[in-house]
């Protein structure tokens, strides 16, 4: 019983902050009229969803959203784990702290600011790359789509990798040192220790992070895809995602109905994926499943 009592404050918060406003989801099926309010407005069925699927670019948009998210999940986790392992292995205390804090620095900057910094590097007229390193072969960064998949992956990794790294460091910090000693006595080299002791112990964190990120696979970081490429139209094919598209399309004719519809769609897809993934995890190792 005290256990349920403990959960009460947070549960109350979630109800207030998340569940009550969820009533707004009905707006996805309504044609909103101010005089009637959200609940009194007329029902329109799935009309609000149409505009998304009528688009000729729907394939590009969905492809970009999904592929970038998959790339981000894989790359950020691999790099994050690698950094976490290296940092915990460092023996020099001050330097370890320094490495550990520096990876989180970009996390403190907003995407708006990051878009300025990226522009400082890539600007065709004034940028450091074209003015310095690439002087003889300047690249028209903001109109040539070739490099953008790479640029977006790098920028995303740069900003967010610190997050995963810290979570994994926390996970690593509790591995029983005696395991390593036992390993060393058995003659296992550092590499072997990492593969056989360190990585397996990170599996629970990895699964949790994976399940959490797969739920957000239809969402994208608006700032990353809109502000960082300076909203350059010629990059559309490699930078458009569901969120940027919706923003562009709704600027002219707004309405909470359509944005609610898009949000609902993104949530439902993520939801189904998580349920499937969770069921798979439960089959493989029931204690790591989320629910």
């Amino acid at each position: 019983m005290p256990l349920y009592l403990m959960m009460l404050p947070c549960a109350a918060y979630l109800i207030l902050n998340n569940y009550v406003p969820m009533a707004g989801i009905v707006a996805a099926f309504k044609s909103y009229k101010a005089t009637e309010g959200i609940f009194g407005s007329p029902w329109v069925g799935f009309d609000n969803f149409n505009y998304l699927f009528k688009s000729n670019d729907i394939n590009i948009i969905i492809r970009n959203t999904l592929l970038y998210n998959v790339a981000f999940i894989v790359i950020n986790n691999v790099v994050g784990i690698a950094l976490a392992i290296m940092i915990t292995e460092i023996k020099h205390k001050a330097l370890r702290k320094w490495y550990q804090s520096s990876v989180l620095l970009p996390f403190t900057m907003s995407m708006v600011v990051i878009s300025y910094v990226v522009f400082a590097f890539l600007s065709q007229q004034n940028g450091m790359l074209n003015n310095g390193i690439l002087k003889s072969h300047p690249v028209a960064w903001y109109s040539d789509p070739t490099w953008w998949p790479l640029i977006l992956i790098i920028v995303n990794c740069w900003k967010y990798v610190g997050y995963g790294t810290l979570i994994y460091i926390a996970g690593l910090s509790v591995i029983d040192r005696s395991l390593y000693e036992a390993g060393a006595i058995d003659g296992a080299g550092k590499w072997k220790q990492i593969v056989h002791i360190t990585l397996p112990s990170l599996v629970p964190s990895m699964i949790t992070l994976f399940l959490l990120s797969i739920g957000r696979i239809c969402y994208s970081d608006f700032g990353l895809f809109y502000l960082v490429p300076q909203n350059s139209g010629t990059l559309f094919n490699v930078t458009a995602t569901i969120d940027t598209y919706v923003y562009g399309a709704l600027m002219s004719a707004g309405g909470i109905g359509r944005s609610a519809a898009t949000g609902l769609l993104q949530a439902v897809v993520g939801f189904v994926l998580v349920l499937v993934a969770n069921a798979l995890v439960r089959r493989l190792s029931s204690k790591d499943a989320m629910f």
């Binding site: 009550v20 009533a23 149409n50 007229q125 139209g233 562009g248 002219s252 004719a253």
Partner: protein, 504 residues
């Protein structure tokens, strides 16, 4: 996550509905409470109009609000609660407040928001309340018609300058060093080859001043549709040639659009324009101020050269590159609308009517409290009082063009004599678009409009600034526009326009 979870969810959502219903009522009260707090408590029955106006910053309006209340209590027996809306809050917060049902009586709205505001039922049809707004009709005259969408009078345009032609602003010192005189140029859309005069000048400028970018900024010909064609609201289907045509046509397929694109393409490939020009978000004025820009493109009004001088620090030569046109869009850029959340719409219109006629009100809104924020100088113009500067002044909007009646305001010191006369006559020789007074009701093609906007966003800047090869990209643009339903929008526009013309 079995049955239990589902039941839990269902209960949650049900509970949500009830609580929300309650909330909206509470939400309604918050703004009016703050309004009441601002006014004195004794006259509780006096109606307070919540007036959302455009302001450069929030929170410094209390003293101005008090002065305005003195006026309105005397002249109208009501009070006003000023709700300043800054640039950033217009896009994000204003629609949030409206959707959440905050009791705002009157708000300013940009024309591009009107279709969506109408569709969501925010706006009161002002044509039902004409008995309260006679004064507005007197001030605006025929320009009232620019506030109509279909049969609905959605709002009243601001009283300000009516035509915005475009021109190229060139730094005077460099211009003269190249040996040019203003009379050397006569650029007109009647003869597209006349634009080559500019290209020749850029070639000379680039040779003579290798450090200087001949052309920079964030606007150019093909982007400034408001200057060259009557876009009839949204540019998807336009009346070409300054609105002198009867037929809705696709501007993006027109010869003029292509010529503009080719011109900018030439500038881009020859290095006359900045390499970043298509993604630049900085004004030509700012670029020129930094000293490395020869010229930029901009719309201009009656007082252009003085304005540009104060913005850039340089004397400039203006080369006009268009005729003047008066279209609905150039009149209804921003409007005052009365909202359905108003508790007393009659009072709201009554107040608005007064707002278009009161000199004191317009001065207060724009320059602040007389004697504190500004004084009348010996020329009869407004100036900072002794010891007050732009940095220390409490209230100074200088947004005359977006308040009800700019022509009533005291001009700021340094303005030419008869400035408002000059503003008025500036539009007198403008070509009047054949669709002047007509506003397209896009609600039946809202879906297509949003698709079209998304397509245009992909190509517009790149083509207009010439960062891509024009011919093939113009073709791609048009193919995609037609796929997205351009023809349907154009047909609907033509139909409404024909109907409107028949009714005239």
């Amino acid at each position: 996550m079995s049955k239990k979870a589902l039941t839990l969810m269902a209960t949650g959502i049900l509970a949500a509905g009830t609580i929300l219903a309650g909330c909206s009522k509470d939400g309604n009260n918050s703004a009016s409470e703050s309004g009441a707090a601002a006014s004195s408590s004794s006259e509780a029955e006096m109606y307070t109009v919540n007036f959302a106006y455009h302001a450069p910053k929030e929170g410094n309006q209390a003293a101005v609000n008090e002065k305005i209340n003195e006026l309105t209590m005397k002249e109208l027996n009501m009070k006003v609660n000023l709700i300043p809306i800054t640039w950033d809050t217009y896009n994000s917060k204003m629609s949030l407040m409206l959707t959440a049902g905050e009791p705002i009586d009157i708000a300013f709205a940009f024309a591009f928001s009107l279709p969506s505001f109408m569709d969501q039922g925010f706006i009161v049809d002002a044509s039902d309340y004409t008995e309260y707004t006679k004064g507005i009709y007197e001030v605006l005259g025929d320009d009232v018609n620019a506030g109509y969408i279909g049969d609905t009078l959605a709002g009243f345009p601001m009283m300000n300058v009516r035509a915005t032609p475009s021109g190229l602003f060139v730094r005077k010192d460099l211009f003269e060093q190249l040996g040019y005189k203003e009379s050397d140029f006569s650029v007109t859309t009647d003869d597209m080859s006349s634009f080559n005069q500019i290209t020749e000048m850029f070639a000379k400028a680039k040779e003579a001043f290798p450090d200087i970018t001949p052309f920079d900024g964030y606007r150019t010909f093909a982007l400034n549709t408001i200057t060259y064609v009557d876009g009839v609201g949204d540019n998807f289907g336009v009346l070409e040639n300054y609105g002198q045509s009867d037929q809705i046509a696709n501007w993006y397929e027109s010869e003029q659009f292509k010529q503009f694109a080719l011109l900018n393409r030439e500038w881009y490939t020859k290095g006359y324009s900045s390499k970043d020009i298509a993604v630049s978000t900085e004004l030509g004025q700012a670029k020129m101020k930094a000293g490395k820009t020869f010229s930029f493109f901009a719309s201009y009004g009656a007082n252009a050269l003085t304005d540009v001088k104060s913005q850039t620090g340089y004397d400039t030569v203006l080369i006009p590159v268009s005729s003047k046109m008066k279209s609905t869009t150039s009149v209804n850029g921003a409007l005052n609308v009365v909202l359905n959340t108003s508790k007393n719409k009659e009072k709201a219109f009554e107040f608005l009517n007064w707002a278009y006629q009161s000199k004191e009100f317009n001065d207060l809104l724009n320059w602040g409290v007389p004697g504190v924020d500004w004084v009348v100088d010996e020329n009869g113009q407004a100036a900072y009082p002794e010891g007050v500067t732009a940095a220390t002044v409490n209230y100074h909007s200088d947004y005359g063009f977006i308040y009800p009646n700019q022509y009533l305001m005291t001009p700021w010191a340094g303005s030419p004599d008869n400035i408002w006369e000059r503003y008025k006559t500036f539009g007198d020789d403008a070509l009047v678009s054949k669709a002047y007074g007509f506003t397209f009701d896009s609600s039946s093609v809202a879906m297509e409009e949003s698709q079209l906007a998304a397509v245009l966003a992909k190509y517009e800047n790149a083509i207009s600034f010439g960062t891509v090869e024009p011919e093939s990209f113009i073709k791609k643009l048009n193919d995609e526009l037609y796929d997205a339903g351009l023809q349907k929008v154009m047909d609907e526009k033509q139909r409404q326009l024909d109907e409107w013309q028949a009714a005239q």
